[in-house]
């Protein structure tokens, strides 16, 4: 019988996790929420050392130390733009850990199944679930990491037999799960884990690079559910509650993210499988456009009263946020009113632009959300689009059938002048042409955003 104080402590930790999530969803309380979660996690992990007579104490502590060091190192070193892949990696190892724990638990349960009624089928089913889904989450997260870190192509990977292989491994997983319940054996669990790895791979390979953040969120929810199932197996309420919280909120968050991009989760996952990539083409257009040099653009900007900057994924790629901030500061010093228009899905993860610009110390007040700023474009002299594309593409309003049709966009097309900074005529994430590039009021400034911004900055200073 677990002592009462232990159970109460676990319950208190579970409550803290609830408060942590609650805190994390508001801007003022987010940081303290995260700290509450961390404190609760530390307390919960410390508890078994006090009431259980644990073997291998030294080894366990060393393992914790290694993991902690690894986690801190990775978390400190990662750049803001690499956040999504870092979260993916952390999530993957968590899923892996859950699968391993479940395998060990299966190993311990097997002798007990000899005794009649000592193990109910539900426990075995939960164990199988954890092994399977934990492995899926692990493999899937590793692939997402590889895609985002550009260790492999970030375009959808599809091969002819994929749907069949996927179906077959799904059936195998179900069969193995049933076997785990009816005639449990460790090897069955191990095979189940391998099948899980395969499924994880097949699930994420066909997803296009830019959809990956949504898949990360989904796998995050998966891992939460495995932890919840693990909590059931281990009879531990804090695992159950914490895992379920993450599973439920993660699923909901995934749907929120997908909605912000005007997509459904099923479409993201299986779009490529159903034939046809989830992305449009990646080819450059060869229609004529008006391009200009930094000096011309500097004059446009230097004598504008009102400028709105639209940052996008390219800004993150070019790591040009600091240069951009400098440029904006110079413009403001010249008396121009400048704001940044933040589209909710600009970049490759929600809040990407906020994080990026915050890193460059851009004052919070200058970041204006889409709904607030959309009315101002028509009174704006110049919109400076830095590495963004889809978030200002009028096709979202005008072209039914386009992959982004229906997504709310920034009304850059209503401004007097639009300047695009990009490297080529290649389309953005959605792979469709942007009519705004060909608009007579639009000027293109080709080149890497960091280079261009540097030149632009000098040119503006020289005015």
């Amino acid at each position: 019988m677990t002592p009462i104080w232990v159970q109460l402590t676990y319950l208190a930790c579970a409550v803290c996790f609830i408060l942590a999530l609650k805190g994390l969803s508001g801007p003022k309380t987010a940081r303290i929420g995260n700290l509450i979660g961390a404190a609760a996690a530390v307390v919960a992990v410390a508890v078994p050392f006090f009431y259980l007579d644990l073997d291998h104490l030294a080894l366990i502590l060393v393992a914790i130390a290694i993991g902690t060091a690894g986690g801190v190192f990775g978390a400190q070193r990662v750049q803001m733009t690499q956040m999504p892949q870092m979260v993916a990696l952390f999530n993957g190892v968590g899923g892996g850990a859950a699968a391993l724990v479940a395998l060990l638990e299966l190993h311990e349960l097997i002798p007990l199944t000899e005794i009649d009624g000592a193990v109910n089928w539900f426990t075995l089913a939960a164990t199988a679930f954890t092994i399977l889904v934990g492995s899926i989450s692990f493999a899937g997260s590793v692939v997402t990491f590889a895609k985002l870190q550009e260790l492999m192509t970030s375009r959808p990977v599809v091969f002819p037999g994929l749907p069949i292989l996927f179906g077959a491994s799904g059936i195998a997983a179900v069969v193995l799960g049933v076997v785990t319940v009816t005639g449990p054996a460790v090897w069955v669990g191990v095979v189940l884990a391998l099948v899980g790895l395969l499924i994880g791979l097949l699930l994420v390979l066909p997803v296009g690079g830019a959809d990956v953040p949504i898949v990360i969120s989904l796998l995050n929810a998966f891992t939460g559910l495995t932890v919840a199932a693990g909590g059931y197996v281990l009879d531990n309420v804090v695992l159950l509650v914490a895992g379920t919280l993450v599973g439920a909120s993660g699923t909901f968050l995934t749907m929120l993210m997908a909605k912000a991009m005007g997509r459904s989760v099923a479409n993201i996952l299986f779009g490529a499988l159903k034939g046809g990539s989830t992305l449009g083409s990646g080819e450059a257009s060869d229609r004529p456009v008006k391009s200009a040099g930094p000096e011309d653009v500097a004059i446009l900007l230097g004598y504008a009263d009102r400028v709105i900057v639209v940052p996008g994924y390219g800004l993150a790629v070019a790591q040009a946020q600091h240069t951009l901030r400098e440029l904006v500061e110079v413009l403001i010093a010249r008396g121009t009113k400048v704001d940044y228009a933040i589209h909710p899905v600009a970049g490759r993860m929600p809040g990407h632009m906020n994080v990026l610009l915050a890193e460059a110390q851009v004052p919070y007040e200058q970041l204006v959300e889409m709904d607030e700023i959309n009315g101002e474009f028509k009174h704006t002299d110049v919109v400076l689009v830095v590495g963004a594309n889809d978030v200002v593409n009028p096709a979202a309003k005008t072209t039914p059938g386009a992959p982004i049709y229906g997504m709310p966009i920034l009304n850059a097309d209503e401004a007097q002048q639009v300047v695009f900074m990009k490297r080529s005529m290649r389309p953005g994430f959605a792979g469709i042409e942007n009519e705004l590039l060909f608009d007579p009021r639009t000027t293109l400034l080709f080149g890497d955003a960091k280079d261009s911004l540097g030149k632009l900055l000098n040119a503006v200073k020289a005015l």
Binding site: A63, G67, A97, N220, G230
Partner: protein
């Protein structure tokens, strides 16, 4: 109530809490929230410690230690990285280091 029903009840209630608790999140905070939730499921470390500390099989011990390392990475790394992200959001509320911003961007 019987044991599985108890757990089912707790599960169902936690689902509601999990959804309601984040229902009001702004899109700006979605990434830190995902990252924080990710850290929370690192609590599987607790399970890994218990299982490893009570096994007497050598293979199981090794597997358990691996699980502990992985879970600790998840948990610790998750909270640290989330804090790093959030630090950026919060830091520049008032002591904004942009002396020029008031004049033009108000």
């Amino acid at each position: 109530m019987s044991e599985p029903i108890v757990w089912l009840t707790i599960f169902v209630l936690s689902v509601f809490v999990g959804i309601d608790v984040i229902a009001k999140v702004s899109s700006t905070l979605q990434t830190p929230l995902m990252s924080g939730a990710n850290a929370i499921h690192g609590i599987i470390l607790l399970g890994a410690v218990i299982v490893t500390g009570t096994t007497d099989n050598d293979v199981a011990l090794v597997v358990g230690l691996v699980a502990i390392v992985l879970a600790a990475i998840n948990m610790v790394g998750g909270f640290v990285v989330t804090d790093r992200m959030l630090q950026m959001f919060v830091r520049k509320k008032k002591p904004a280091p942009a002396p020029t911003s008031d004049g033009g961007a108000a």
